[in-house]
Subunit: 300 residues, 4 copies
């Protein structure tokens, strides 16, 4: 059972470190991940970001796309030498940093007054955002990814709401798939939940969700996983394991420095039984942001 | 000289196509690109997105990060079973679709009443955005990238403002580097301009910029390039070649269906003389958007 | 029955006019309105503007207040000579122009290719907004207001959903109250609907609403009313009278140049039977906006 | 000299009070203000709110108007029974709470850990905003206003940058004008600065501004003024009097509970020598906001 003390990986990569377990990924790890690709098939693991249609915590604003310029504005461009019938369309995008398919920066959660590596919670201020462990620190990486399809292993279309995925579930799935988990890997856990929720005919209600429990943290630590993603809202189960507020977030983000990816879209990879891939993530490096919508690209 | 007629690649991938020259990239092309990686070094080609510091056209709004939740809000979370000292930081991000390092969707520019492949300009409306050729169509891809470092070839720190990069410049740089350009490649042109502009001590003034001219379009078409990126504001030169409004945008986006990436950050790749890489782009698939800030990842 | 032809008040105040029936209000009318005040009681007729709690058309974004600066930012102010413990709180406000208690500018609705006074619908473009009849033209005024409490006259707590308020209803209410309607007045119609909708224990469902029908337009035109407000979403009934799309909006905004105010909060005035008042409106003059949230102040 | 101790008006209207000196305005005061109107002329004291053109502190976002619906969207409305050629224009408005002509809520500034009346600074949190002394508490009022045209009295087009307006200046202007200041009045101070800044041919540079000094606080307290407004950025001088950070803001907002209005537009009232008027303000009651752009209406 997770018992990382207060300081799981603190200091492991230096007292100033803000990148956490992604330090496990060096060029040799990337080359090995590249060498493991067999199909060259490119998967986009993001869901569309749209007004009202994006799943997210109810309290956050709705993502919006707003028009900055459009064909009706063509006369505006006369200033720049525009000619009749030529012009540009442009938008303004507003999105909560934790909407849709997104990544949590290590500063997203604080506990006992600190974020990862003992950086003070006060390193985040409303005006300037994160001065430590912001999305600019962990938003760019490539590594090997392993998908553990727990739903398929369990023989279910999707795990039921509130179902806690344990270390044993992960290990059993890994064995059943015959997949190796290596240091520096991204671990992708498939519960089937997001697919169920997005069915045109309607799926299970919002609220409780299946997800990782505290014992899964042991699996992650023991395998020196660098990143964890899942096809649910919080990676961890809702309600939280043992009803501890943000239990797994605290263990992974604050103690281990493991970045989280939420609302992954996995049906194509699951259908292809693509359990190993190269995962590439490039979050927009918004200065001070605590997370970001992303479009993770996996190559089979 | 560019003479693609009205319909360079229109119909080449079907009358309904919205993906343009990215159709040239199939899994075998991706596998070949993977095989070409030699160092495993990961480059982020994006500049920080920040209030006032992001270079962009003056008329667009300034990107903003705003706080949605912060340590001072901890009492708010009592509703969710929060305990003392534990909480979350969250933001709202507002950004023009064409700010910072960004990608133009094929619908970004229209000419003679149409966007790429003859889709009507009216397929974009302010409320719904792009119903054809939006960022969701071209925002996810991986391919081989070739960087032509024209500034280095020219023996200059950066090309001067207004300098038009020609097909001959590209070919001479390619030969000098000994780099092959293949169908489906992303062509990255380095002018040195963005690095000059971002020098702490100040660089050349905003306004005119070096960039591609119309003859460069021939080079791109003849090599069946899938994507073109550069380290400047518009890929093309400003003022426009022959003073034709959006000259190269029209040729590449509208006629050839070649997606553009602007404000690439290239100094590390240039220092490493990394002329060939795997380029992976995952734009947030905002429904209806005409472009998106991105963080392109290159693997050497 | 409303039969204003295409051009009810067009040209009445000149071909360039953008202020419509508010031209009926001159200083002598204002002085008369001031002279009619008897209690000096000040009523705010606006409902709170808040995240999720503001009634509005579902398709519009949710109003948001976001923090720009807060106590946690105090260190930021060191740059400006700040001392320990002193600082400022600031927000960013995002709101649809037609959210909560708000005013429709005359350009809000177009019909047959024109807005009020024959100004072309194309005088609005997405980038620049309204160049004719924007909120800056009608957003500042003071005049006499007459409230017709149709719900009280009908002996109902609130008019039922879909109930069409007719010219006869208005005249009967006017007589029952003994209220005179004068040229240049603001006509405020109380249906009781917004109060019913905002009951803590829940009220009637959203969707259909009581409101003015086409015959009420005759009453408005015959009395030369300058502004019309009501305690519902659209002034007019939903569904629209005779199922004509935006029927009353077209008659009042486009043909008569009568500005509309929606979602008025009237319970205090109704309880006081304050049927005559001085109404003062100051909308933020956002350049090009088609409407604005407002806080109308009435003085009894 | 201002020496209000820590608790100028604290407790004067009860320990729970959040409305401050506006408590001085009761219906009899309003009736007296109405009775003082002589011309019926209506003045809007707000400047336009527009992209880039709105004067404000540089660090705040630029106000934006963005289009939500426009003529090009007409097909969208088919869902609602729209007919050809009929539709609606709508916007989204984004504005800092302290941009353009605006009002400071009493919670805007904190000092020694408290806002007005001893409410704790922690009553403001980034997520929920102000739970005490927000704009909803002071944003709706009508009262008598007295304009003291210090620039005219001084015989200058505008007071020079940094000029501190003293109690003696205010009293001398008052006497020269023959204007009485009564309890519950709004005091409007004209420096000429905003007019100078907005001249088409360019005015004095941004940065230092004329405004009230600490002795003016005595004048305000001694006359029991309810609201203070001026035609500059901060009511008080910049640099601050005696270089005390937010000196006058602390005295007026925190200690006396006097609401501030900034960037008033006064040239028309000044040209008319309209020194006494009815001032009516209705700020949009944004839940939790620390201020709001407003359009103050004065009636002469």
């Amino acid at each position: 059972m997770a018992s990382n003390g207060r300081t799981g990986n603190w200091g492991r990569w230096g007292d100033d470190d803000e990148r956490g377990a992604l330090n496990l990924v060096d060029p040799s790890v990337v080359l090995a991940a590249l060498a493991g690709c067999t199909t060259g098939k490119v998967y986009s693991l993001a869901i569309p970001m749209g007004h009202h249609s994006t799943p997210q915590v109810a309290d956050r604003p709705i993502p919006e796309r707003l028009t900055l310029a459009a064909p009706a504005d063509a006369p505006v461009y006369q200033l720049y030498g525009a000619v009749e019938g030529v012009g540009a369309n442009e938008d303004l995008i507003m999105m909560p940093s934790h909407a849709g398919t997104h990544m949590d920066a290590l500063c997203h959660v604080y506990s006992d007054g600190t974020v990862y590596n003992g950086h003070p919670a006060g390193s985040f201020t409303p005006k300037l955002g994160a001065s430590k462990c912001g999305i600019d620190q962990t938003g760019s990486f490539a590594c090997r990814a392993v998908m553990l399809d727990v739903a398929a292993w369990a023989g279910e279309e999707f795990l039921e709401a509130g179902r806690i995925v344990t270390a044993d579930d992960l290990e059993a799935t890994r064995r059943a798939q015959g997949t190796e988990v290596r240091p520096g890997d991204a671990l992708i856990v498939r519960t089937g939940w997001l697919e169920a929720r997005r069915k045109p005919e309607g799926g299970p209600p919002a609220g409780a969700e299946p997800g990782l429990g505290l014992s899964a943290v042991d699996f992650i630590r023991d395998h020196d996983v660098a990143v964890v993603g899942a096809d649910n809202a919080a990676v961890e189960s809702i309600p939280f394991d043992k009803n501890i507020f943000l239990a797994v977030h605290i263990e992974l983000l604050v103690k281990l420095g493991v970045t989280l990816i939420e609302h992954l879209w996995l049906p194509e990879m699951a259908a292809d039984r693509c359990f190993e891939s190269l995962l590439v993530v490039g979050a927009v490096p918004v200065t001070g942001a605590t997370g970001s919508p992303i479009n993770p690209i996996a190559i089979g």
